[in-house]
Symmetry: C4
Subunit: 206 residues, 4 copies
């Protein structure tokens, strides 16, 4: 394990613990990744079926662009590795996070017929990279859930090309994906989008 991989893995484990505490990664759900090197591509990926509140840095796996394991101490990479890899390629992301929260689950279903959620007029939008004003309108696409990962990766690739400025997307009744140039930015985006979804959901209750 190179120092670099170890540092990245330590960062991912710390973020996992924090997001699990907020209830966004319950029951081994969700997954996390960060780029280790670009040429050839290697990313550190959270293993499948692990309690994210207990994730240890040495459990992170290193996978290549085809989701084949190229490093780490064993285990099975998350089923959704292909989605992470696709986001890394399409967006040049340095880190990708995927959460299962109550509000992202509910809203991904409630707005599914619209194909996405338009979020606008909130100061919190300025936490998304490149957004300078609360008057920004963010479109958060919603993609139908599927267990066919290669097909879903294609769908997501096409969706990311169609919505080139989106900072995240929802899988219906499944969860939220967001990403960033690095892990700190990806975590910031997740917190921002989760906050906005909760604000929208609770506003509908009133």
């Amino acid at each position: 394990m190179s120092d670099s991989f170890e540092e990245i893995a330590t960062g991912l484990a710390a973020v996992a613990k924090g997001l699990h505490a907020r209830g966004w990664l319950l029951g081994t759900s969700g997954n996390l990744s960060a780029v280790v090197q670009r040429e050839p591509l290697q990313i550190a990926m959270s293993p499948s079926g692990v309690d994210k509140g207990e994730l240890r840095p040495e459990q992170l796996l290193s996978i290549d662009e085809h989701a084949r394991i190229v490093g780490g101490q064993g285990g099975k990479p998350s089923d959704e590795s292909l989605l992470h890899l696709r986001i890394v390629k399409e967006r040049g992301a340095g880190a990708v996070l995927h959460t299962h929260s109550i509000w992202n689950t509910i809203l991904s279903d409630l707005y599914a017929a619209d194909g996405g959620i338009k979020i606008e007029g909130y100061e919190m939008l300025k936490g998304l990279q490149g957004v300078r004003t609360h008057q920004h309108a963010e479109w958060l696409p919603i993609v139908e859930n599927s267990q066919d990962m290669p097909a879903l990766a294609e769908t997501i690739g096409a969706m990311l090309n169609e919505h080139k400025v989106a900072h995240g997307f929802l899988l219906r009744r499944h969860g939220l994906y967001s990403w960033g140039e690095n892990l700190a930015q990806a975590k910031r985006h997740i917190e921002i989008i989760e906050f906005l979804l909760e604000a929208i959901g609770r506003t509908r209750n009133i």
Copy 2:
């Protein structure tokens, strides 16, 4: 206290602390157990009337298949020990967890007339052992609450036989039981089912 019992008790105390922090074991409610040995059966059981946020490993009791104390440093095993033992026998479970959350309490009453809650179409269902797709339909049976533990154990035994693939059940206005091959799996199941109940409850609010 054998090393094995000590390890099991340490694990149960750690899980108890975490679930109490989430508000799922308030006021000494709920209880936890894990199998110590199968032949003859011994399980480590949380004592009655103890603050689960402060539970210490040495407070766990070892009980036999008749809920008689066979080890530990004293105390009274939970009144619901017979339910734990029944689940262990019927399901071959290695650990059983019982939580009292706001949402499991509310939904156990709201759906009581239906005899259970059908949960389907959520990715989170894949966190239940053996479930491979979000298209799975999980039936979470609801059993009328009772203070007659031997009778309730019989009712639950019959219910578990009727619903052979259920991963948990609700006692009406009382709480959730779930289990797993080991403590980690039981904790995963509790987190998954609690999440799904909250998602269903909050969806009804909108």
Copy 3:
């Protein structure tokens, strides 16, 4: 400071920290006490205007039956000391806790016209001392709020005499009082009643 007072103060500070973390003692609200000796009466009382998340054992004050300071390192005892003392006398309580939670605030207003809230049919009721079945009906009286502490203490004294088996009461748009033979039991009662109020409040939303 006797060892005994120091132990009691340490226990109160730990409970204060936990309840503050749950959001039940925000903004220096709420207060805590425990009996140091009965003859003549001395209780350890939390000081006025202190952040309960930061409360240190040495900040606890010792007061007599007239709420006069008889020990501790200075500070002003909580304005509501007279209420604590009254509860100690009427109920023989060993500890008294007073929380300001969102749900106790809302329900204390919503049910004010009824003079109280009848809570029945919940397993959680068994967490209240002496309650053996979920079929128990607990009456949680609601008293109109006031800044006249001597008068309010009289009102509460009369109310406690009228409702001899109540385990707590609400001050309207103010908060919850509960108590116990000792601090652990008082904390258990607070957790139980807060849970039940939240369950009732959220059930009304559905």
Copy 4:
């Protein structure tokens, strides 16, 4: 870095961590300041774009009355520094806190047409400096959000002059500002107002 600045910065970092844990400073949102000296004015200000859950004391910046950096180890002060400075001048505040919570976001929009929220009849109001009774009526002004900070600072200056006894204000769909003579009082005010907004918001749901 003088001892004094270091102490102030340590205090701000600790408060930031606590408020982030409550979900009131997600995604690098919100900011915090405290007066270092009055003549000439210097305040310790949180830097822009930093995760408040990870804020370290050495990241705080010292700025003058024109929001120019006069101390600290680099970084960019928050865009909203001009608002903090204006509050310090108009109110003589020793510390200013700005949070983005779900409930302050929702209510700042829901009551925008009224120009503010009247909060009265809650015991929690007594946590606001100078308030002696729950019968107090607090007016929490709501100001339209803007990205033009010099103009917004003027608007807020005028608003503070119009509402001389207000303990805080809302920026529409943006967040809450409150302050105090010192950091502890500012934190108290934030907790009190956040609590009251949540109580009002949830009451409307029922």
